[in-house]
């Protein structure tokens, strides 16, 4: 198990707390592929060609690699920065169970 200092029986759950700037960077990294690819008007052209591929085709294939890079960077930021905070869980004897 990943964190030896936790005691599962207390019902304590940790969540990762990130700096606001990190959250902003992660948001941009995850939004970039969506914005780039859903804005179809920015890439529906034949030129410039690359190795015979019209722009429309090579640009989208290039985004496969760019998006993988963005998601990997977001993953590393989330797992390697910030610190864990413990969350209270009141499951044991709580019968109401309504949040918010």
């Amino acid at each position: 198990m990943t964190a030896p200092h936790t005691e599962p029986h207390t019902g304590k759950i940790r969540r990762r707390k990130l700096a606001p700037a990190t959250i902003a960077v992660v948001a941009v990294l995850l939004a970039a592929p969506l914005v780039a690819l859903l804005w179809v008007g920015s890439y529906n052209s034949k030129t410039p060609r690359l190795w015979g591929f019209p722009f429309f085709y090579w640009y989208q294939l290039l985004w496969v690699i760019l998006a993988a890079g963005c998601t990997s960077a977001a993953y590393l930021l989330i797992t390697r920065t910030g610190h864990d905070i413990e969350l209270e869980s009141a499951h044991q004897n709580d019968e109401k169970g309504t949040d918010k």
Partner: protein, 540 residues
Amino acid sequence: MNTAAGPTVDGVALGVVIGLFVIVTGVGFAAARWRRPPAFASLDEWGLGGRGFGSFITWFLLGGDLYTAYTFVAVPAAMFSTGAVSGFFAVPYTIIVYPIIFIFMPRLWSVSHRHGYVTPADFVRGRFDSRSLSTAVAITGIIATMPYIALQLVGIQAVLEVAGLGGSGNTFTRDLPLFIAFAVLAAYTYSSGLRAPALIAFIKDILIYLVIIVAIIYIPYKLGGFGKIFDASEAKLTATPATSFIPGSAGLLSYGTLALGSAMALFMYPHSVTAVLSTKNRTVVRRNASMLPAYSLMLGLLALLGFMAIAAKTSVIGADGKPNAQLVVPALFRQMFPSWFAGVAFSAIAIGALVPAAIMSIAAANLFTRNIYREFFDRSASPAREAAVSKLVSLIVKLGALAFILFLDKTLALNFQLLGGIWILQTFPAVVFGLYTRWLHRYALLAGWAVAMVWGTIAAYRVVAPATGKHFGASVAKIPFFGDHTAYIAITAFVMNVVIAVVLTVVFRALHVPNGKDATQPADYHADADAERVAVPTPA
């Protein structure tokens, strides 16, 4: 090749296919002993592989699950016959799906781990305390998955037809190979559960990658380079009406909404959720979201096989003497490759059908067991009883899919698959919004779902294909009240769904309509593998 009588039998290729199929069958049965726990009889074991798969296995399992044989056959076929809008959108679709699941999937994993949820409908039941809403989600999942399983058979059929089986004889001898393949698949899924497709996925993916790498180097080399392939495709597609080489201004919204709608829908399918919940901790999903795009690159290159077939003037005349675009990929392989390698390529597609078909039937069976059988027939079903019911239902589901393909029109399966994508997206508000907020009222969600399902079905029915004059001609239609803009029906229906859910929530809250009790706690959405499972109270 005698085109009038369809393809002739290719003995070498068939021999390779049979040999590889036998190996896969052995692996499928052996999988029952792989990572075997002391107690096998529960849905956690049979239906989720013990909830213990790490990043490596999950990468193969999800890749094998999401990128199906039908995709390999249908995407190039769409590129071959109608061009980019109905084919290449699969590339942006399978790119943007990963940032989307990166955001919400860990929450679904955590809450499911904490409460022992096996299906998305289990979560909806716990979160919204509504049997009608969770049943709606479960039934949507089952009816969207069934035709998808049937279409995996279309992938196998295309291969067998091009390999020369299926031309002569009556229905029985023609479909005998398909029948045997499915009977064997059903048998090892029954005995090994999710472990079988997880192991077979390794073989499938290695074969697929091998075939694609060879194909995208060797075929363009024989055809004179990618430039010539694209030129030939442009010439053909611009000369044919209702096709597109590159989407024009009228097709932009269709292309974008097809990509977005499909991406949002993909992880609402029960088989995707099953694969995600089989992972051992919270981070496996996120790590995989950054590694799975390798499959999208492969899919993009595979889509271009449709254009290669245009340049190679591949004949897609089927066994019945009529042209059938679904045959384009196997036909191209047979035309370009030596027999033995065509056999390897055929096997890759056929085995590619077995992995998702197995996972889909397990997922559909889990939905039935947890959200219909347990909910309505046996409230106190033991884990062993649940596993027994699920195993039996997985057999029935596969038999149903087989009957669908053998006795009904194949286009019916295609129509249902198109509808399935529209339907499954309508469970998104309850499942994904539900992961973040309980503000939406359970009956408002139900009403939004119902209206979107009905409207989406009618809208899809009313699209008449210009070439054939048949209903369910495409998955894009004009947006009501928005002039001539066309968009993916699933997205238009989804917007209606959300608007109705929000408006009715305000109304129901004002009227103090009871909204049930939430079984989950905010902390549950962050739980990792070390968090204890919440004790499930026995239902009253």
